[in-house]
């Protein structure tokens, strides 16, 4: 069973990064980016391209995917989200859903509809497995969990420890107050979105060797990332990360016990139940659901 938990944590890391990205964008722009999962896929595919066509190391692929994600995020905020926001909340929701469609099928146009492999981070086309405490854990799984921790640490350091990170939080908390002390609120928002998309690309690449990149899984990742964010608490970064991991674990445990197919309805049911019983999620504080 511990096996399943580890597998769950691994896939859950992807969900956690989606959830965290959703949180960051929500906090700074009050927009829920339904397309977040698609950027995860895109990130993985970018890394794949770097590895395959530039014949580069997978670590370079990770770097370029992350930086690429950052740049794409800047463009996404500037040309899609900011423009859509002028039309109101409903318009933004519709536009992000449209983005889902564009990316979901768009990536198949460029990379084909079949999922592609990504080299394992320890080098090579196959994974290294270790046995410990009665269960098996692979090197890639260790990388995933480790890199997740690194990403979370970097984010925490940025948002809690640097002046600009705090300035971004300030701009999200009170745009007026931020403006009055000289913070460029528009730029703060753009950078927040860019960070969130970079995070998504990062996530897609680190789980890529295990789950393969591309294919039709995009929307499922988005949805499960959402469920994680809602269950953990949309307005709490810790909640989002924990929620994502939790969804992953639940998914793998159910799959292990009852076979494939049961985990989905249970997870969606969990979403509805959370929305009904405790909409702010486990770690969430404010009742912001009725805005």
């Amino acid at each position: 069973m511990l096996q399943l938990v580890v597998a769950g944590l691994t896939v859950g890391s992807g969900y956690a990064l989606v959830a965290l990205g959703i949180h960051i964008i929500l906090r700074s722009t009050r927009i829920i980016n339904f397309a977040q999962g698609e950027f995860v896929i895109l990130g993985g595919l970018l890394a794949y391209s770097v590895v395959t066509y530039l014949h580069a190391n997978v670590w370079l692929g990770l770097l370029i995917a992350t930086v690429g994600g950052f740049l794409i995020g800047l463009a996404y905020e500037r040309f899609v989200l900011r423009v859509a926001a002028r039309g109101g909340e409903l318009t933004v929701t519709i536009v992000t859903i449209g983005t889902v469609y564009v990316l979901l099928y768009g990536h198949a146009l460029v990379w084909g509809s079949l999922p592609q492999p990504l080299p394992y981070f320890s080098g090579g086309a196959s994974d290294v497995a270790w046995h410990a405490f009665g269960f098996e854990i692979s090197a890639q799984q260790v990388w995933v969990l480790g890199l997740l921790a690194v990403a979370l640490g970097a984010l925490a350091l940025f948002f809690e420890g640097t002046a600009y990170g705090k300035a971004i939080r300030a701009a999200a908390s009170s745009p007026v107050g931020a403006q009055l002390v000289g913070i460029d609120v528009d730029r703060a928002r753009a950078i927040s979105v860019a960070i969130a998309i970079a995070l998504a690309a990062f996530g897609g690449t680190i789980v890529g060797p295990i789950t393969l990149v591309g294919g039709a899984a995009g929307i499922a990742i988005s949805i499960k990332g959402f469920v994680g964010a809602i269950v953990g608490g949309l307005d709490s970064p810790v909640g989002c990360a924990v929620g994502g991991l939790l969804v992953g674990v639940v998914e793998k445990l159910l799959e292990g016990r009852f076979g494939y197919g049961v985990s989905d309805p249970v997870i969606y049911g969990l979403l509805i139940a959370t929305l009904l019983v405790r909409p702010q999620g486990i770690f969430g504080a404010r009742r912001a659901t009725r805005d």
């Binding site: 002046a163 705090k166 300030a170 107050g177 931020a178 403006q179 002390v181 000289g182």
Partner: protein, 243 residues
């Protein structure tokens, strides 16, 4: 003496709604100038038009420190030495007291931020005791002090305050006002918008009274304090023009 803030023939409002008409006002260096008037007179609109958020100037000129700030980007105004403590304070609710103050000196470097923190705690010892609390957790009076401290962090030449006494108990209001007077003594010019006329006129150098978006009275505070027409503006009465 050249005015620090000079406003001429200002019209301003929100979208299609014009609120201020033909406002002429000035603040000389080292002065504490009050803007009074009943609710809805346009006092907040005036400050917002100067800081360029929410309200838009549709006519007239605003000059600060000898430059026209009518078209300056809103987030650049703070750098010019003009700080605004808005209605509702607009603190960074989930950041700590320390961070709020430091961000007041955003863009000026770490040394400035540290200095700002030191000055703030000297001036507001209560804030030092609560330095790690988030702004959300503070009491009303403490929040007002924090808002002022944050505005002072950029070492402004002119501090604008929008109804700092709102929602505060009388004793705390007195404290805040004492701090404002002390600031003026220390050389910061102050433009104070208030509803509380007597308290304000007792401490200000000069005052303007707004009604329905226009300046109806102006002059040295000591004179206005004795003027019955001020009361008529607030409460309507026989000394004003009857409707």
């Amino acid at each position: 003496m050249k005015p620090l803030l000079e406003i001429e023939a200002l019209d301003a409002g929100y979208g299609g709604l014009g609120v201020l008409h033909d406002i002429a006002l000035e603040v000389l260096p080292g002065e504490l100038v009050a803007v009074l008037g009943p609710n809805g007179a346009g006092k907040s609109t005036l400050l917002r038009a100067i800081s360029r958020f929410d309200a838009a100037r549709t006519a007239g000129r605003i000059r600060f420190d000898d430059r026209d700030i009518g078209d300056v980007r809103p987030d650049r105004i703070a750098r010019l030495g003009l700080a605004h403590v808005p209605e509702g304070r607009q603190l960074f609710a989930d950041l700590t007291v320390e961070d709020n103050i430091r961000l007041g000196a955003f863009g000026r470097g770490n040394a400035a931020m540290r200095a700002a923190l030191g000055d703030a705690f000297e001036r507001f010892p209560q804030l030092e005791k609560r330095r790690r609390s988030t702004a959300f957790e503070l009491s009303g009076g403490e929040q007002q002090m924090l808002a002022i401290a944050r505005a002072l962090a950029s070492k402004p030449k002119l501090l604008m305050l929008d109804e700092p006494s709102t929602g505060l108990a009388p004793r705390v209001v007195g404290q805040i006002f004492d701090i404002i007077v002390a600031l003026r003594e220390a050389g910061t010019s102050v433009l104070l918008v208030e509803q509380n006329a007597f308290l304000t006129l007792a401490r200000a150098d000069r005052a303007y009274v707004l009604e329905h978006g226009r300046i109806v009275l102006a002059g040295p505070a000591s004179e206005l304090a004795r003027d019955d027409r001020v009361r008529a503006v607030y409460l309507g009465g026989s000394t004003g023009e009857a409707v």
